[in-house]
């Protein structure tokens, strides 16, 4: 067993343990943090496959952004654990069904039955590259030329996400005052100040 194999087993064990932690912890914040750990070990596994860019971007986007949102939501919601327990029995059949289908799919793809995708020689061993190989460059060369259509579709999806997020969450309060710095800067003395000339009043 080489050092790389050792790393693989370590990080996959960590991934499985963390994933178990996600569904087993009672406190939703703990669940979210276990999820962070599982993303992290997942990124390490991708790095072992020399998917350098994807591995680091997984940390950047999922750990650095998506999970921050999850934590924000989960931390500040008052989730009543008792009430969640009540729903457990009701949703058990559906959950079991989904789990069963997922397990069947996985066995179909990687298990002894079904299509033998692992037969392909190139899939058995990840290609090893030299120290100066740049995975990101390879990706960039094809992403913006050969796969330009999916790339542009991604921008449309992100646009839809922006619009959806705003229309779902934006609430304007009636009586709040906003500051508009451009207006503040353009204020002249005459807008604010009026000098009134008047004669001195006679003493009574």
């Amino acid at each position: 067993m080489t050092f790389i194999d050792l790393n693989f087993y370590f990080f996959s064990a960590l991934l499985l343990a963390a994933a178990l932690g996600v569904i087993a912890s009672k406190n939703p914040v703990h669940s979210a943090l276990w999820l962070v750990l599982s993303f992290f070990s997942c990124a390490a596994l991708w790095l072992l496959l020399e998917a350098e860019f994807l591995g680091i971007v997984l940390v950047l986007v999922y750990v650095g952004a998506v999970m921050v949102l999850f934590l924000f939501v989960v931390m500040m919601l008052d989730i009543n654990i008792e009430e969640m327990r009540k729903g457990f029995v009701r949703y058990l059949p559906i959950g079991a069904l989904v789990a069963l289908i997922l397990a069947a799919q996985m066995i179909w793809v990687v298990g002894p039955i079904g299509p033998d995708i692992l037969d392909d020689e190139s899939l058995k061993q990840a290609v090893r590259h030299g120290a100066d190989y740049s995975n990101t460059k390879e990706l960039g060369r094809v992403l913006y030329t050969e796969y330009v259509l999916p790339f542009e579709i991604a921008s449309i999806i992100l646009l839809v996400a922006i619009v959806a997020a705003i229309s779902l969450t934006l609430r304007r309060r009636k009586n709040t005052k906003y500051q508009t710095p451009s207006k503040q800067i353009q204020v002249k003395r005459d807008d604010r100040l009026r000098i009134v000339k008047m004669d001195a009043e006679a003493k009574e």
């Binding site: 790389i4 790393n7 790095l47 072992l48 020399e50 350098e52 860019f53 971007v57 950047l60 986007v61 650095g64 952004a65 998506v66 921050v68 949102l69 924000f72 939501v73 931390m75 500040m76 919601l77 008052d78 090893r128 590259h129 030299g130 120290a131 190989y133 740049s134 995975n135 990101t136 460059k137 990706l139 960039g140 060369r141 992403l143 913006y144 030329t145 330009v148 790339f151 542009e152 991604a154 921008s155 449309i156 992100l158 646009l159 996400a161 922006i162 619009v163 997020a165 705003i166 969450t169 934006l170 609430r171 304007r172 309060r173 709040t176 005052k177 906003y178």
Partner: protein
């Protein structure tokens, strides 16, 4: 390529170990530990804490976090583009121009809607 990452892996482990050792050594072996009720109560300028501090808060923070995810993805798309710019030339610049253009429309939309305002 992987041999470059061995020092990184070790460094990460060392970083976490340094934190752990400093905390246990300084915090629990050298330091005294004499808890009492007043000392262990949450700091609230002398008041007794009268409610749970984990409260609901403005939905605006969620919106910022969602918008952040979208822009972070944009950066993730920009990075490979930026380093191969010389190879892909005009076509690459145009394809990124359309991509960024669409997202700038989104950005203008959120600006006009007032999603970026704080009160």
């Amino acid at each position: 390529m992987l041999e470059n990452y061995l020092p990184v892996l070790i460094f990460m482990a060392v970083g976490l170990i340094v934190g752990f050792v400093l905390l246990t050594m300084g915090g629990f072996m050298l330091a005294p530990h004499k808890p009492d009720e007043a000392k262990n109560s949450p700091f609230e300028c002398g008041f007794e804490a009268f409610e749970d501090s984990r409260m609901k808060f403005d939905v605006r923070y969620y919106l910022v976090a969602i918008l952040f995810i979208i822009f972070d993805l944009e950066i993730a798309f920009l990075v490979p583009w930026a380093i191969v710019l010389e190879d892909i030339g005009l076509f690459g610049v145009l394809s990124m121009g359309i991509f960024l253009g669409v997202l700038v429309i989104g950005f203008i939309y959120e600006w006009k809607k007032g999603a970026l305002e704080w009160e």
